[in-house]
Amino acid sequence: MPNKTPTISAPQFKLLEKLCRAVGVSGGEGEVRKIVLDEIKSSVDEVKVDALGNVLATKKGRGAKRLRVMLDAHMDEVGFMLVADDGEGLYRFKIIGGIDPRNLAGKQVVVGKEHFPGVIGAKPIHHTTPEERKKPLAEDALRIDLGPESKIKVGERGTFAPNFQRVGPSLMSKALDNRLGIATLIEFLKVSYPNVDLCAAFTVQEEIGLRGAKVAAQYFRPDLAIVIDATPANDLPMQFEGENIFYNTKLGLGPALYVSNSSAIDDPRLVCFIQDIAQKAKIPYQIRQPGGGGTNAGGIQRTVVGVPVVSISVPHRYTHSPISVARIDDWKNMPALLHAAISQITPALLKR
């Protein structure tokens, strides 16, 4: 049996806050990587940073016939890159990853290693016409305003300003996608699972095409992979007339288990196994609605000779916006469910 259970309490909230306050836009994950390395170094057998910047850590089990179980969580977040200096501290920028441009105007941002503060400005209401106000402002029409003394250079990255807070049953922050997953995965490395070799991949560049996970899977060549991520909850009732049938997930119903999305069909054996575990242990979970979207499962599944995959995500509202909202209980049930699953997994599960 495992020596302990990964749980979410005060230290984990502190760690999550630290991770959420870090800036790790795709391709520039260094700040998050440093936190991860510090957190895991004393609890793993091997750790390396690969050529793309993935943190790849192994924690070996002790039993015979151990499965190699890859746990993946991406470190990167959506953000911006400065692409042209217009002078006076005003910069043109391009979105990295998927951000709705309607979420940009009027937001605080931070840019560069020192988190230099800036603003994405927009013309005030005093100077706009009613016609102008009907149209969303496009990325090209906006500038990041860093003031004249920033010393920030074209090519540097930025994102929405850190804003982590706990409010009652909720967590509110930028980058809950996927610092929730990173904080979860860190906890798993503090536990020893005799039945498996844990292959933990803290991956880069997920938001721009599942890139880091592909090479991470080629390195580990696991028997199966579980992708830990955060997924949108589109569960606001006022958006719809009648029954909402496109919610993706709902807050408060537990971790969301994937069945299929654009990037991968989750392995039915793993989906069934995790559902059985959840039902037996009475851990709440929900099925994330099949449809579009992608997770690192798509990057991992088709590497080398193939890897059975499944994704589990914490639901959160307002994904890829300056601030999103998740429920603490949904997050707490994530390590509970994964722990129950991993500690009971055996090679028989993959037999055909």
């Binding site: 049938i245 099949p290 449809g291 193939g306």
Partner: protein
């Protein structure tokens, strides 16, 4: 062989859920293969021969299908497509879930409109009256249900794409008493969602060359244009499709073998769509590939039609290609 086609097209196995069809094919080939294994993604791999040129022959087992996204309060099942599901082909159709539940496809607002609604405006009615008595839940998978129809030369069924390729591969394996090559018949998983099974199985096999056996489109019904392939004129040797340029050496090899054995064939230049050969071509350091196509009308509908003579000639062509030592400049040795 019609019996085999009937048997294979009666199975419900959409992409990712190939257990049922894999079991049936495995039983069909058991006595004829030298070795059989199943890989991590569920591809069924049967080897015949040892030591010669390594050839991969891929026919995909999966079929397009539907997946439940939500069961509403009144027990209607909302769904999304698995693979290329065309809304036009759905209303009024019947489906069968992998768990055995059957249902019919209805439209929001009924049929009194000329607009073709997207999948999101359709539902499956499984005869339930509430969420609680609905035997289907989010994530459950279904495929078209439509009976096999034998019209003589022409045969119609759901999932001809690509059970007909599986039938050709099975029959070729049975007919091929011996081969000078090391042939890997791969019944692939998840072709319809992006040639996924072929990618990982080709990586594992690392063949010297390969080809897929799959359906292609048709140009011989009213209003069809710019596609020079017809039913009944023989299997089509693919020169290109929307995702792949066949290796010209493979095309030449296939054509020369067909002509030598007087097997009718057609030259296929397909502008859209692709097959497992695309994925095979791009693994590792690259593999010379081609494709033997079976012309098929109404592809991705519940009633896909093939010509039985084309099928038999596809078997002849496949066995001809595989029997003699493949000694080509690119054979990789």
């Amino acid at each position: 062989m019609k019996e085999l086609i009937h048997k294979l097209t009666d199975i419900f196995s959409p992409s990712g859920y190939e257990d049922a069809i894999r079991g049936v094919i495995r039983a069909e080939i058991k006595e004829f293969a030298d070795e059989i294994r199943v890989d991590a993604l569920g591809n069924l791999i049967a080897r015949k021969g040892k030591g010669g040129t390594r050839v991969m022959v891929a026919a995909h087992m999966d079929e397009i299908g539907l997946m439940t996204t939500h069961v509403d309060d009144k027990g209607f099942v909302r769904f999304t497509g698995i693979g290329g599901v065309y809304p036009r082909n759905l209303p009024g159709g019947r489906v069968r879930f992998v768990n055995g539940t059957r249902g019919v496809i209805g439209l929001d607002g009924g049929v009194f409109s000329n607009d073709l609604p997207p999948l999101e405006k359709m539902f499956i009615d499984v005869g339930a009256s509430s969420k609680d008595d609905c035997p289907v839940k989010t994530g459950d998978v279904a495929a078209f249900e439509r009976p096999f129809l034998d019209l003589g030369n022409r045969v119609v069924a759901k999932s001809m794409d690509d059970r007909i390729g599986c039938a050709v591969a099975i029959e070729s394996l049975r007919t091929l008493k011996s081969t000078s090559n090391e042939v890997y018949f791969v019944f692939t998983a998840q072709e319809e969602v992006g040639t996924r099974g072929a990618q990982t199985s080709a990586y594992g096999i690392d063949p010297d060359l390969g080809f897929s056996i799959d359906v292609t489109g048709w140009g011989d019904t009213p209003g069809q244009r710019d596609f020079d392939v017809a039913l009944g004129k023989g299997p089509a040797i693919k020169i290109r499709d929307g995702g792949m340029l066949s290796d010209p050496r493979i095309v030449d090899w296939m054509i020369s073998m067909a002509e030598k054995k007087k097997i009718p064939y057609q030259r296929e230049v397909l502008l859209g769509g692709t097959t497992d050969a695309r994925a095979m071509q791009l693994v590792r350091g690259g593999i010379p590939v081609g494709c033997v196509s079976v012309p098929c009308r109404y592809v991705h509908s519940p009633s896909e039609m093939i010509d039985y003579n084309d099928v038999q000639n596809a078997v002849k062509l496949t066995t001809t290609l595989l029997r003699a030592p493949i000694e080509l400049p690119f054979a990789g040795k």
